[in-house]
């Protein structure tokens, strides 16, 4: 009660005081009232002779700058007629001396770069001007590049990459721990204790090995022949193939490192496969080394620092100099190989003694690898790929290559996993759930790659600066243009929400096959941009609308759950499997074991 009286008194006092204050400050008719939501009907501008606090002398009207010309003043007494124009051309002198050639060159370059898009090339005496639907010299999305907008090396062709990757796969299909046998006991403990994957028993069947060896021989012979016959095709091919191989192997190491650093347990069952992929690193390095050492002239800036006009100066000259370039490449490759060796070795050592400290060590190594990888891979893609066109640059290029590399590597991982499972079904402990997860990861990275591609494309398209559009001009037009949609289709088709779930989730899905088809196309598509003439399959692994755990008893694939044998995991990781939250996967495994599948 008392507080209410106080409050009322207070409010009354405030009211009276505010009324008094308003009374004491009478309205000033010269000052405009506050107007809410003024629709710019009146602009609050200064009148010519009103005082103005913005200028030092306090006046609105200022003196003109020295050298200003009054309106109507004609400094040169010519009328705007053709006769007077001719007379002016004869009488007037250019106060500036004739420009040296390098200034004209520079001017042409700057004009092409900044002005040609709107004003056309005809003004400078270059190629013909363009009329576009009645709008002269209006830029179009696809500007024809002037002579100073250098294109990527047009002799790069899409090589038979799948052959190369299979060759690489064939060379390293193996390597692993010693086999043990399971004595037929059931239960999650036993499974966990003995669940490993033997790679020694996974041998490439002769039927597959022989054609692959033939292909290797054919490749080698073709390459040698090409060195003499068509070097401008063969060297870029080798560069691309080596980079692709390197990418696949790096993807293996990256995958392993990522799984370690996130503490993921689901991938432990098949971790040997990305580790095996990573073992390809020296091969890719050798291929790349061959190109860089034997044919560095592939890069336009080698031997001359003047590419298409202006020579490089300063930083770029130092950066794009062959010895430094080679040294950098060696550092990248060495660091990747060193980290991979360390991680894989620690992982193998854990097989012997099951010590948790190996996991911790690998987590630290993985963290270090990821940091070093980020920097070195960005620089490597700038060095090895982007400098093929030394005047072009794009800051997202490193990420773009990474996306493509990891996508291809993931797809290769899935293919290899399914393949190894079919080769040695008794040895591989991989469930539907694993493939599901890998499939979802593939889907996610597919979308990520499309997103990164679109980012780069859209920004360059939008600003339409010839310095940048040179990259896409060749890709989008001509022969390559036809190949672009099939390359993008699988990626862009995934953009629809729930698209993979369009298949009725209730029907048993043969994950292996859809993964096969899907991943096959991904692997075959090259890491960087050369479009491959493949049509993307629209199938996808289990979709986002699919419950991760609700499909256990329907789509069990018989080969997966035979007696699981040895492999990749130390006792510590096995306990990870025990603590693994995704119990339905384990339920399937135990269920199959309980069913007493044949020995």
């Amino acid at each position: 009660m008392k507080s209410r009286v106080l409050l009322n008194t207070f409010l009354l006092v405030v009211f009276i005081v505010s009324v008094k204050l308003n009374w004491l400050r009478p309205p000033d008719p010269g000052r405009r009232n506050i107007e809410y939501f003024p629709n710019m009907a009146h602009s609050a501008r200064y009148a010519a002779f009103s005082p103005n606090p913005e200028f030092p002398d306090g006046k609105t009207l200022q003196q003109p700058e020295p050298g200003a010309i009054p309106r109507g003043y004609r400094p040169v007494h010519y009328k705007p007629t053709p006769e007077d124009a001719l007379r002016a051309g004869e009488e007037l002198q250019n106060p500036f001396a004739a420009a040296p050639a390098r200034h004209l060159d520079r001017g042409t370059f700057v004009f092409t770069n900044f002005c040609q898009a709107c004003h056309g090339a005809g003004v400078v005496g270059g190629s013909e001007g363009r009329e576009d639907e009645g709008r002269p010299n209006v830029p179009r999305a696809h500007v024809r590049a002037g002579q100073y907008a250098l294109l990527r090396n047009a002799t790069l062709t899409g090589g038979p990459l799948e052959r190369d990757s299979l060759r690489a796969l064939a060379a390293r299909a193996g390597g692993g721990a010693s086999p043990n046998t399971l004595s037929g006991a059931t239960g999650i403990d036993t499974l966990a204790r003995r669940a490993t994957m033997s790679a020694e028993n996974v041998k490439l069947p002769e039927g597959v090995a022989r054609p692959l060896k033939v292909l290797i021989a054919v490749g080698g012979v073709t390459f040698l022949a090409g060195v003499f016959q068509a070097p401008q095709r063969v060297w870029p091919d080798l560069l691309m193939a080596s980079f692709f191989l390197l990418g696949l192997s790096l993807a293996g190491t990256f995958f392993v490192a990522l799984q370690y650093i996130t503490g993921a347990g689901w991938s432990v069952a098949f971790r040997r496969i990305p580790e095996a992929m990573a073992a390809l690193l020296p091969m890719g390095a050798v291929g790349l080394g061959v190109v860089l050492l034997l044919h560095p002239r592939l890069y336009p800036w080698v031997g001359t620092s003047a590419v298409g006009g202006e020579p490089f100066r300063g930083f770029k000259q130092v950066w794009l100099s062959l010895p430094f370039f080679l040294a950098r490449s060696a550092i990248y490759l060495a660091s990747w190989i060193a980290f991979t060796l360390a991680i894989v070795r620690t992982s193998r050592r854990q097989d012997q003694d099951g010590d948790p400290s190996h996991t911790h060590r690998n987590v630290r190594l993985s963290a270090g690898f990821l940091v070093v990888f980020g920097v070195t891979f960005t620089l490597a893609s700038f060095d090895w790929i982007m400098s093929l066109e030394p005047r072009w640059y794009s800051t997202i290029f490193g990420i773009y290559n990474f996306a493509g590399m990891f996508l291809g590597g993931l797809a290769a991982l899935i293919l290899l996993l399914i393949w190894v499972q079919r080769l040695a079904p008794a040895q591989v402990v991989v469930t539907d759930g694993h493939l599901h997860d890998l499939g979802k990861l593939l889907f996610a990275f597919s979308t990520f790659w499309a997103y990164i591609w679109f980012c780069q494309y859209m920004l360059i398209w939008y600003a339409n600066i010839p310095e940048e559009t040179s990259y896409f001009v060749q890709q989008v037009h001509g022969a390559w243009g036809a190949a672009l949609p099939p390359q993008l289709a699988p990626e862009l088709g995934r953009a629809l929400p729930g698209a993979p779930a369009a298949k009725d989730p209730a029907e048993p899905q043969r994950d292996g096959e859809s993964h096969d088809r899907d991943s096959g196309w991904k692997v075959a598509r090259p890491v960087f941009d050369d479009p491959a003439a493949l049509c993307g399959a629209q199938t996808g692994p289990g979709g986002l609308g699919d419950r991760p755990d609700g499909r256990g008893d329907r789509a069990v694939r018989p080969p997966a759950f035979r007696r699981p044998a040895q492999g990749a995991t130390g006792p510590l990781e096995r306990s990870l499997l025990r603590g693994k939250p995704s119990l339905p996967h384990m339920i399937q495994l135990i269920g199959c074991l309980k069913r007493g599948l044949p020995d």
Partner: protein
């Protein structure tokens, strides 16, 4: 028409899950299971059909995207073309962001509305909790007596095996 219902309340998810699976195996008809949270594996135990909501999401997203792309093309190419930065009329790269956003918007909102409709979740609806504590810490399994062969004693034994804390028989009027 009335039907007889058997209710069993459990304290732990493992018991509820086990009881549901066992009921299925014995062939009892499960009316519903109530839980304070989504239990892993329950819909498998109940043999529930997967929801068709992903179809709604996909379809509406497709419709949204298609409509939006058409609308963008129509306004910028046919209805009132305006030369903005000299972009071509069919500037598909520039149309992608808005199309994507509208697709996501339509897909998401329609899925949620479909969910509310299908599950009959209406603002202000009075909830009918069979027992107290379902939203707190009790799981409830509701079986229906389907025929004369339904043996209440077997049912009770089953419930006891899974540590039911409360067993009840009810008769429900169905209209």
């Amino acid at each position: 028409m009335s039907r007889r219902l058997f209710l069993a309340a459990f304290e732990r998810e493992e018991d509820a899950l086990g009881a549901t699976q066992a009921s299925r195996e014995y062939g009892f008809r499960i009316v519903d299971v109530y839980a304070p949270y989504a239990v892993h594996g329950m819909e498998r135990a109940m043999r529930l059909q997967p929801s068709r909501l992903p179809w709604v999401c996909f379809l509406l997203g497709l419709i949204g995207a298609t409509f939006k792309v058409w609308f963008e093309y129509w306004t910028t190419w046919i209805d009132w073309p305006l030369n903005v930065g000299s972009k071509p009329w069919d500037s598909l790269p520039a149309f992608v962001p808005v199309t994507f956003e509208v697709m996501v918007l339509l897909a998401g909102v329609s899925t949620v509305f479909a969910f509310f409709l299908v599950c009959r979740l209406i603002p202000g609806k009075k909830p009918t909790l069979p027992i107290a504590g379902i939203t707190d810490n009790r799981f409830l399994l509701v079986l229906e007596e389907t025929d004369a062969a339904f043996d209440p004693h077997r049912v009770r034994r089953l419930f006891e095996e899974f540590n039911a804390v409360q067993v009840e028989e009810r008769v429900e009027e169905t209209r």
